[in-house]
């Protein structure tokens, strides 16, 4: 199908984009990579709308070293997450997740900020932010604030962003020397949204996992932290961690998979992720 009537304006600075967003008072939206937004325009899921194109704002793009964190600009393409050495060394989960997003011709356009602001519950990058305890840097015409990822995702396609705010960047703590990060998902077809996926982060020493964080995606309205499983892993009991998932998670049933099947797969992925983290940490 073809898009309905669309209004378009190309922003030439972040300040101008934020000014336009505020004065539009909800009648405009930011156009970043467009890989979900343009599809929804073509499908006429989105009503007549005005677009503020931010693709020319190169200051929003790129990865930089900020001491104990890395800063990733909102307009950074998935393809850059796949290939940037600083991502590979400091937040490898982002590189591993990027490869799982759709296909090469979509990853060249799709952006980190776009994925987070869209907040699809089955998307990989929101769960990475939660697992890695990233901060989302939100900016409006007269303010800038840091929102912890855990409180950023509020519901199905809903975030803590106000109507006049945009994501400027995310700040991700650098992985320490013992830290291992694993991203795994199960999808019916390569590149599809996952039925179940997880992001595991832990410090691995010998067989022991410390400071572990497990965020699931595709299992609820927002990325879900599996707190019971996290504390069981801390105690070194993988079987108990898998069992705890029944309390941690409340997966939906839909045409892709039943709740029971998803819960089973969540356990399978947890075992695989822990095995890989231990193997990469030098233990088997």
């Amino acid at each position: 199908m073809k898009a309905t009537r669309v209004g378009y304006w190309r922003a030439d600075s972040v300040e101008a984009a934020l000014g336009a967003l505020r004065s539009a008072a909800g009648s405009a939206q930011l156009l970043a990579g467009g890989q979900s937004l343009v599809a929804s325009l073509n499908l006429r899921l989105a009503d007549e709308t005005n677009l503020i194109d931010i693709n020319g704002l190169t200051e929003l793009e790129g990865v930089s070293d900020e001491g104990d964190r890395i800063r990733v600009g909102a307009l950074t393409r998935h393809r850059t997450l796949e290939t940037a050495p600083l991502v590979a060394s400091s937040a490898p989960a982002l590189a591993e997740a990027a490869v799982l997003i759709a296909h090469a011709a979509i990853r060249t356009r799709g952006t980190l900020g776009g994925s987070l602001a869209y907040a699809d519950p089955a998307a990989e990058l929101p769960a990475c932010m939660v697992a890695l305890e990233a901060d989302i840097v939100a900016r409006s015409a007269d303010d800038r604030r840091r929102i912890p990822a855990e409180s950023f995702f509020e519901g199905l396609f809903q975030t803590a962003l106000a109507e006049d705010e945009m994501i400027e960047a995310v700040e991700v703590p650098k992985a320490g020397p013992l830290e291992r990060q694993v991203v795994l998902e199960l999808a019916r077809r390569s590149g599809d949204y996952a039925m179940v996926g997880l992001v595991l982060r832990a410090d691995v020493e010998g067989h022991a996992l410390a400071r572990s964080r497990i965020a699931y995606f595709g299992l609820g309205a927002v990325p879900v932290l599996a707190r019971g499983a996290m504390s069981a892993l801390e105690a070194g009991d993988l079987d108990a961690a898998v069992a705890a998932l029944a309390q941690d998670l409340d997966p939906p049933s839909d045409l892709h998979a039943s709740a029971e099947y998803r819960l089973h797969l969540a356990g399978v992925l947890l075992r695989r992720a822990v095995a890989r983290a231990r193997a990469e940490g030098g233990s088997t």
Binding site: M1, K2, A3, T4, R5, V6, G7, Y8, W9, R10, G19, A20, S23, A24, A25, S27, A28, L31, G34, Q35, V38, A39, L41, N42, L43, N50, L51, D53, N55, R79, A102, H103, A104, A105, I106, T108, R109, R189, S190, G191
Partner: protein
């Protein structure tokens, strides 16, 4: 700032398509493949699903492959676009095109231009990808005729010839 006044229903763009400069005034919601097909008469890029799933519209913008249906023409001021017509003329995909013919890697041909652009990216990376890696790389391009094996044969032939020639 007058928010309503700044948004344009029609946008002027100047870009190059297959090396030729093009200036146009386009509807703001018109995606690149419709622009190429309907305004420029370049019908080699195909509009299939129009929501980024099938890969038939895969073309090259500023040196990278994109979904032509998920890029608005309005966004392409200053861009460099290459379609299957352009790369056929320059001959840069000759080896892939010949291999697709030799291996029967197409029947109706609807998916072929997109397949070529996706495959060319893999070929350019060099090396000798396994059939599994080729399959994964091509997983964003649908074909309803061939069952894919012949497409993978054709790409494998080009990547192994390329490596052999080194």
């Amino acid at each position: 700032m007058n928010a309503e006044g700044m948004f344009r229903r029609q946008v002027e763009v100047a870009l190059t398509v297959n090396g030729e400069p093009v200036e146009a005034r386009v509807d703001a919601g018109k995606h690149l493949v419709d622009f190429l097909r309907l305004d420029l008469g370049l019908t080699g890029s195909h509009a299939g699903c129009e929501h980024g799933v099938c890969g038939a519209c895969t073309i090259r913008v500023n040196g990278e492959i994109v979904r032509g249906c998920l890029v608005l023409t309005a966004q392409l001021d200053g861009a460099e676009v290459w379609t299957v017509e352009g790369v056929s003329e320059t001959g840069e995909m000759r080896a892939l095109q010949d291999a697709f013919v030799q291996r029967n890697a197409l029947q109706c041909g609807f998916c072929t231009p997109g397949m070529l652009f996706a495959a060319a990216e893999l070929v350019e990376r060099g090396g000798r990808p396994s059939r599994e890696e080729i399959r994964e790389h091509m997983s964003g391009n649908y074909c309803r005729c061939t069952g894919y094996e012949a497409i993978i044969d054709a790409i494998e032939q080009v990547t192994s010839d390329q490596e052999g020639a080194r």
